[in-house]
């Protein structure tokens, strides 16, 4: 015979298991999102260039989400890794091989190689220090690229990039047909990997660090080592984004290392919302649409309105997109498991503090 206590405990264990099972499940919204992205390849052949740009932006923002949304590191220097990835893949294509997948790999390594030593500079300081260090590293690299014009082409940009056809078959055409399909697949793989990482013990330790580094270390989490690891991983992601830019544009200028690039990446992520992986995608899409709409309405002042919108958006609550997505997601999932957890999360996040 089970005691009352034992019965209760096994009921709790059952409930705990059901909560655990819900973790990491693909939501219908997520699946729908990918179906639309794939459908866009078939239905919007005239928009592939802009869609490619959005996807690359999304990967850059995703790389920022890994450090900001999951580990709580604020950064204004993601362009450092993005730019180095872009140059690395460009130089590889000129001097060694134009094979695109090798380029991605080399760019990922280059991004990680920059991120790894930088991460040690981020361990001591608080937010302001981190902003300045990331900003500073990107500025230094920008100037190095500017001065080393024998290698990078300096202010004239890197000329002569030639990318081989993908798998020896698919040429990178000027309409971006190959580029969009290629970038989208890379984004999907990177997002899939990020999904695994954020749902792993490592990923949860990052969230613990983000929420409370003091407590994280008090339950045995090696905070510094974990931050080094995730920043390095994020550097590899940013490097890949840079390589995609190089390979689809076949031209690089110093802009890839610019402050503007870092700031745009951060802005896109904030528009889409941090800490749920899709923020970069949603944000990049929204950013392009807003930019497109504004520039056709007021071609001269669109940046003014973009700035104003951004301010209004952050003031009214930058968790809104995520809440909206959570609630849509809860609505279109079957109500078999009442979304008690989601409802509570949303209600809590909505509270003005």
């Amino acid at each position: 015979m089970m005691s009352v206590r034992e019965k209760r405990q096994s009921a709790t264990a059952e409930a705990v298991r059901s909560v655990m099972k819900r973790h990491g499940r693909w939501s219908r919204l997520e699946i729908g999102f990918w179906l639309i992205a794939v459908a866009a390849w078939f239905l919007l052949p005239g928009e592939h260039l802009i869609l490619t740009e959005i996807v690359i932006f999304a990967i850059l923002a995703l790389s920022i989400d890994l450090v900001l949304g999951y580990a709580g590191i604020v950064t204004l220097g993601q362009a450092a890794m993005y730019g180095v990835g872009a140059y690395a893949s460009g130089l590889l294509s000129i001097h060694v091989t134009g094979e695109p997948l090798t380029g991605l790999l080399v760019a990922a390594l280059a991004g990680a190689l920059i991120a790894f030593p930088t991460s040690f500079l981020l361990l001591r300081g608080a937010d302001l220090t981190r902003l300045m260090v990331t900003l500073g590293v990107a500025a230094v690299l920008h100037e190095i690229a500017n001065q080393a014009s024998w290698l990078t082409g300096g202010a004239d940009g890197l000329q002569g990039i030639a990318i081989d056809p993908l798998f020896g078959t698919f040429e990178f055409d000027i309409y971006g047909h190959t580029g969009y399909a290629y970038s989208l697949v890379v984004l999907f793989i990177l997002l899939l990997l990020a999904r695994f990482v954020t749902a792993s013990p490592f990923g949860y330790s990052l969230k613990a660090i983000r929420d409370n580094p003091l407590r994280a270390s008090a339950v045995g989490i090696p905070v510094k080592a974990r931050l080094v690891a995730v920043y390095t991983l994020s550097g590899a992601y940013a490097g890949i984004a840079g390589a995609l830019f190089t390979q689809t544009q076949q031209f690089i200028s110093l802009d890839v290392l610019s402050f503007q690039k870092s700031a745009d990446g951060l802005m896109v992520l904030v528009i889409g919302g941090t800490g749920y992986l899709y923020g970069g995608l949603v944000g990049a899409l929204a950013y392009e649409l807003i930019q497109d709409a504004l520039s056709s309405v007021t071609p001269q002042y669109w940046q003014f309105w973009l700035g104003a919108l951004l301010i209004a958006f952050v003031i009214t609550g930058r968790d809104r997109p995520r809440q909206l997505i959570n609630s849509i997601s809860a609505r279109i999932s079957r109500p078999r498991q009442p979304g008690r957890l989601d409802a509570v999360t949303v209600a809590d996040k909505g509270k003005p503090t």
């Binding site: 409930a15 909560v19 695994f196 613990a208 929420d211 008090a218 045995g220 090696p222 509570v344």
Partner: protein, 251 residues
């Protein structure tokens, strides 16, 4: 003689000219229910920070189960079984109760670097979490975010997170601080039910809780050990009454 789990030898910490901790040699016996008391500013927090590795001592050493851990980092001490709770709740605001406990258990089991495996896959983790939830009366709120819990439940989770580390030595920093009267009893009974083989050092202002919980008391005054003895000895000690109990009554 009973075994000593945690020991400090001539532990000293100076901040400039200020002696925050002065030559403290302290022993915590295995399975102890030991309270550390002292007036405000006596250096209790500094002492805890020295034990847990937040601060480096200027002199002296900290030993856990006979091994010198003075040079060990915070997380290294936790992995060896020296775990603390905080006076002010330190929870993972964005995570729910189950997630918080799961990540602590994963870390304890050395799984923290696994980056492609789901966090809830470890065999038996569900039953262990369920056990902790019922031990600490958290079953009803298991899927709620930590930040949304009522204060009393947050306090219990604060302790549950530490217990999930399977500590050998548990440092409880004012566990009943700020708990509303209605929930006090629960917190105190949960504390009383902690496993007997865990050695506990309780840092507390509340004399009621100290006398109920502890069987041994050390008094810290101006960074130095002022007195130590059984509950009875300390409660009768005139000097202690003067510096501490008397002082507190006027505070």
């Amino acid at each position: 003689m009973t075994a000593v789990t945690l020991e400090t030898r001539n532990l000293t910490k100076t901040f400039g000219a200020l002696m925050a901790t002065t030559d403290v040699s302290f022993r915590l016996e295995k399975g102890a229910r030991h309270a550390l008391i002292g007036p405000n500013g006596a250096g209790k927090t500094t002492f805890i920070n020295l034990l847990t590795g937040v601060l480096k001592p200027s002199d002296g050493s900290v030993m856990l189960e006979g091994k010198d851990i003075t040079a060990l980092r915070r997380e290294g001490r936790v992995q060896r079984g020296l775990v603390r709770t905080f006076q002010i709740n330190q929870l993972f605001a964005g995570l729910n109760v189950v997630e918080s406990l799961a990540l602590v258990i994963n870390e304890r089991e050395g799984q923290g670097w696994r980056w492609l495996k789901p966090a809830f896959d470890a065999p038996g983790i569900d039953d262990e979490i369920a056990g902790l939830l019922s031990d600490f009366g958290l079953d009803s709120v298991f899927d709620q975010p930590c930040s949304a819990l009522p204060y009393g439940k947050q306090r219990l989770l604060e302790i549950a997170l530490a217990v999930a580390c399977r500590p050998k030595v548990l440092l409880l920093d004012e566990p009943a601080a700020g708990v509303p009267e209605a929930d006090r009893k629960e917190v105190m009974s949960r504390l009383a039910a902690l496993p007997a083989d865990v050695s506990i050092l309780l840092i507390e202002h509340d004399m009621d809780l100290v006398f109920n919980f502890a069987n041994r008391i050390s008094v810290l005054v101006a960074g130095a050990l002022f007195a130590e003895g059984s509950v009875e000895e300390i409660s009768k000690d005139q000097r202690v009454k003067q510096v501490y109990l008397g002082g507190a009554a006027h505070a």
